[in-house]
Amino acid sequence: MADTATSLQRPLRTPRLALRFDLRRLLAPAIGWIAPALLVVVWQGSASLGWLPDSLLPSPLAVLAAGWRLTLSGELPRNVEVSFLRAFAGLVVGGAIGFGFGLANGLSRASDRLTDTTLQMARNIPHLALIPLVIVWFGIDEAAKLFLVALGVFFPIYANTLHGVRAVDLQLVEMAKSYGMRRLELFSRVILPGALPSIFVGLRYALGVMWLTLIVAETIAAQSGVGYMAMQAREFLQLDVVVLAIVIYALLGKLADVVVRALERACLAWRPLHGD
């Protein structure tokens, strides 16, 4: 009796488990989107019912419509492109300088003594406090935005690269040296890969600073870009465009995060964390 019972149960149980497992796998990535989706539904609902006046907050559909209108006119793609290029150029310039100083100061005592104190002092100045000065120096030109973004992303990349290089396991370095690895090979095969997880932490942090800096710079001193588009819209009381700009910033931020995650998965595949 007991035998038949178990043999009957077994084939039943397996597909049910498999089904539940598959559902979970399908739903797992979607779970994070439940709250934002719910928010949009509630937002649209209260706008449609007239609880939320357009003069305070336009409905999601109105924002979408504004997005479509500005896409057709070419204004939105142009401004997004300008903002994206500014962000990217600032990240490349500031990131490269930060990465360079981080490596130099992590690898060379002399370089560290020479520059670290200066860099640490400069770090304590909020870079956005320089905006008035930057406007005087560069006007509201591209150089102003590039300077501010580059300055903003410099420190997180510098500090984390430096930390990563210093935290490289000295036992591995000793092993590599005992097998005859010298400067360049030691750097590319041991030190850089060892510092990479920390460098990625710096990169993620830098991306946050990058968008923040760009938003502030574009709202205060710009003649194009998503931030400029939002400020113009405010003058004409086009709240749908203002909200659209905010949504665009959120999407660009999310996009940058997705790209970095993909890069991490590719570069840090050896870490058990990144197994799935």
Partner: protein, 258 residues
């Protein structure tokens, strides 16, 4: 049985390079603490020497000097008899690069010859010799502690060293894995014919593997014992037990001139 007879099966096949070592009045101090005080030691080419002693007796320091990882404050170390006189080290920890797969870690042992034709083949052979050919493409993080040390052994052996310095490489392994590793090590040594210098605190391990056991005390050689038991050695045998007792007795009563 004499030392020469015990070592003969390996010697006969030893066309592989091996180096003899001469250490003369080696002094090494860390700050005010003198770890090695005028140590003299001669090691024959192809000999398997175990260095034992209490922790802090200077055995690991001695190994690091021989391996060239540190320099002595005074005295000299001479190598004779091999072309490539870079001693290979097997550390207490596996020290595998976590971001390189298993086979790439083994290839590190080839040094600059890694780019030569047939390098991959040699690395794979070395990996097969330690029984891990099927893990070549895996990350070190997926291996057990014993498997990691086997990869480290393959990395050390692939360079065909003339001297292999082993710094308690089996210390962190469980008893069973440790015995497996010991026989793997012995097989490799008999096949390759290198000079082996094993630092350990495990008397049974020293008695299993070594031609000669050197006991360090206060930075100098306190006991120098030739082991003439036939290989592979049986841990249960009365001779083995007597040898272990001799050494343990000396370790427990550190009076001079025992």
């Amino acid at each position: 049985m004499s030392l020469a007879e015990a070592a003969s099966p390996r010697r006969a096949a030893a066309d592989a390079p091996a180096a003899s070592l001469k250490l003369r009045t080696i002094v090494k101090a860390f700050g005010a603490k003198k770890v090695l005080r005028g140590l003299d030691l001669d090691i024959l080419a192809g000999q398997f020497v175990a260095v034992i002693g209490r922790s802090g007796c200077g055995k690991s320091t001695l190994l690091r000097l021989i391996a060239g990882l540190d320099a002595p404050d005074a005295g000299a170390i001479h190598f004779d008899g091999g072309d490539d006189l870079v001693p290979r080290v097997m550390f207490q920890e596996p020290r595998l690069l976590p971001w390189a797969n298993v086979i790439a870690n083994v290839e590190i042992g080839l040094g600059a010859r890694r780019r030569e034709a047939g390098a991959r083949r040699r690395a794979l052979d070395a990996l097969a010799a330690v029984g891990l050919a099927d893990r070549a493409a895996d990350w070190p993080g997926t291996l057990s502690g014993g498997q990691k040390q086997r990869v480290a052994l393959a990395r050390a052996l692939v360079s065909r060293p003339c001297v292999l310095a082993l710094d308690e490489p089996l210390g962190a392994l469980d008893a069973l894995t440790r015995i497996e590793m010991q026989s793997l090590l012995e097989t490799a040594w008999r096949r390759e014919g290198f000079t082996a210098l094993l630092v350990t605190h495990d008397v049974a391990e020293a008695a299993t593997l070594a031609d000669r056991i050197v006991l360090l005390e206060d930075g100098a050689v306190a006991l120098d014992l030739e082991v003439a038991l036939p290989r592979p050695r049986l841990r249960g045998s009365p001779e083995f037990g007597r040898l272990e007792e001799t050494i343990l007795g000396r370790l427990h009563s550190p009076s001079r001139g025992a």
